[in-house]
């Protein structure tokens, strides 16, 4: 079954019918927002059933759109959390990625500013490496990006999309070794991105991030995961009742090759490892249950089929 990421937007009235339909079709609801009278469902659904969901949602005022980044967790790396970089443009970038379905986390570096003094500490590096992709939101000068970027990427092994004010071809020219994606014409600014030319750059950024993640998906498909992250999320939501007591918007965050479970590692790692998925196969058999660098959460990294010889 091929799953496609979609966003369903509709009214609260009878939305449970759509939820039931998605679950009956074998799809997964990755995130559900209820904002006043509106419901937004971010889900992975079987490709052949998208039209059916559209047809069922239409009389309820529901709208289905393809959201290429559903089921991904992206780090938006900002040189600092000062007014120079926040809320514009780092938050604008994060918001745009969220609209495309991604779960974003802002990583504000302790010393990411300055071309001579910029660096990345171990905690920041490990936090970034827990994501599917990192978007580096850098500034306006080619000289600075060229000099500081090697320090900011040291030890980061997830795909990187670099943004900055110089044109894309200049960014490509100054970065060595190359990173996975580049978005030019998007540097530091002090106003909300609202002009058409600024918004079109953000669209280009979402396309670039989608392209890089598609390449990552293609690489994963060559050696598929032992269990789909969305399915594992469903198992945890069903069999670990304490997860429903968590007040975070996404108590279980789906990533491309894993999950972030927002429960304390010390008390929940052992029961999670022993949790049965199907026919005696436990989470511990098909995944590494690791302490996350974010607070005391649990980070589950699913092993590929070649490592476990199991597929559930």
């Amino acid at each position: 079954m091929i799953f496609v990421p979609i966003t369903y937007k509709g009214g609260v009235f009878r939305h449970d019918e759509v939820v039931d339909l998605i679950e009956d079709l074998g799809g997964y609801i990755v995130q559900k927002h209820m904002i006043a009278q509106e419901v937004v469902l971010q889900c992975l659904v079987p490709k052949e059933d998208v039209e059916l969901i559209e047809a069922v949602g239409r009389p309820l005022g529901g709208e289905v759109t393809l959201a290429p980044l559903v089921g991904t967790e992206i780090a938006v790396v900002s040189p600092s959390l000062e007014i120079h970089h926040l809320p514009h443009s780092s938050c604008d970038v994060a918001e745009y990625l969220r609209r495309a379905g991604a779960k974003t986390n802002m990583v504000g570096l302790a010393r990411g500013f300055g071309k001579r003094i910029a660096n990345l500490n171990v905690e920041e590096r490990d936090t970034i490496n827990e994501h599917d992709l990192a978007v580096y939101v850098l500034g306006n000068f080619e000289t600075c990006i060229e000099e500081k970027f090697p320090h900011l990427r040291r030890g980061v092994h997830v795909p990187i999309v670099l943004t900055g004010a110089p044109p894309t071809d200049r960014l490509k020219a100054v970065i060595d070794p190359p990173v996975e994606g580049y978005v030019g014409e998007m540097g530091r600014l002090m106003h909300r991105t609202k002009r058409p030319e600024e918004l079109s750059v953000l669209d280009v950024m979402v396309e670039e991030v989608s392209r890089v993640l598609d390449e990552k998906r293609a690489a994963i498909a060559k050696d598929p995961l032992s269990v789909s992250p969305a399915r594992l999320m469903d198992v945890i939501l069903e069999k670990v009742p304490d997860i429903h007591e968590v007040t975070h918007p996404t108590p279980v965050t789906v990533q491309m090759v894993g999950l972030r479970v927002k429960l304390p590692y010390e008390s929940y790692a052992k029961p999670l490892r022993a949790l049965e998925i199907e026919e005696g196969v436990t989470v511990g058999d098909v995944a590494d249950v690791l302490p996350s660098k974010m607070r005391n959460y649990i980070w589950i990294r699913i092993k590929p089929f070649s490592e476990t010889n199991t597929m559930v």
Binding site: F113, G114, R116, A118, G139, N140, F141, P166, L189, M190
Partner: protein
């Protein structure tokens, strides 16, 4: 920026120049400093690295006195009755009155009135001349804050100056040689027709 007599950004990189022109424009408008600054020249060289902003400010009147925002009348008991027209400087005014006459002699029966019992032999109308605030000081702090935001974040080492309507702000990541600062500032000030 239309409201400024002179506004220019000079930079080795064209993209950076355009970006900083927009940033300076946004920050000065956001902080409502366009009415204060009359000329502004920004020079940035990321290779050195150095950021220099030089300019002039409009003459901004003198200190604010009680008479500028309150009417002072004398009642039959010889007390000064102040009717406040603009509350902006009410808090610093109360502070100035407390310091001079003591809290026991300053009453505020309602939001817009203050009654002061002045010592015998003193003219109640002299209260009109009490200096309450120096707005230029606050504006200078606002200007430095704005330039700090405009300058690249890593440029933490800085020199700033403001005297008789001329200001400069030089920042870098590295130590700033006073001689280089002087030469650079003098050169850029010449562009806006000012000599220090």
């Amino acid at each position: 920026m239309a409201a400024l007599e002179y506004f220019a950004v000079e930079c080795a990189e064209e993209k950076g120049r355009e970006a900083y022109e927009r940033i300076a424009n946004d920050v000065l408008l956001d902080l409502d400093l366009v009415r204060l600054v009359s000329k502004l020249h920004i020079f940035i060289d990321p290779r050195v690295p150095v950021f220099a902003a030089v300019g002039t400010t409009h003459a901004f009147g003198g200190p604010v006195r009680v008479r500028d925002f309150a009417d002072v009348n004398v009642d039959e008991e010889g007390r000064a009755v102040l009717s406040i027209g603009d509350e902006t400087y009410l808090a610093p005014m109360l502070l100035a009155l407390w310091n001079r006459f003591g809290k026991d002699y300053v009453e505020q029966p309602d939001r817009f009135s203050v009654v002061v019992t002045v010592p015998k032999g003193e003219d109640p109308r002299s209260i009109e001349e009490i200096v309450v605030a120096h707005p230029e000081e606050g504006l200078y702090k606002d200007l430095v804050y704005a330039l700090q935001i405009i300058a690249p974040e890593g440029f933490k080492v800085r020199r700033e100056y403001h005297h008789e309507g001329v200001f400069y702000y030089v920042a870098s990541e590295n130590t700033l040689d006073p001689e280089i600062v002087e030469t650079l500032v003098a050169e850029k000030l010449r562009l806006i027709g000012v000599t220090l």
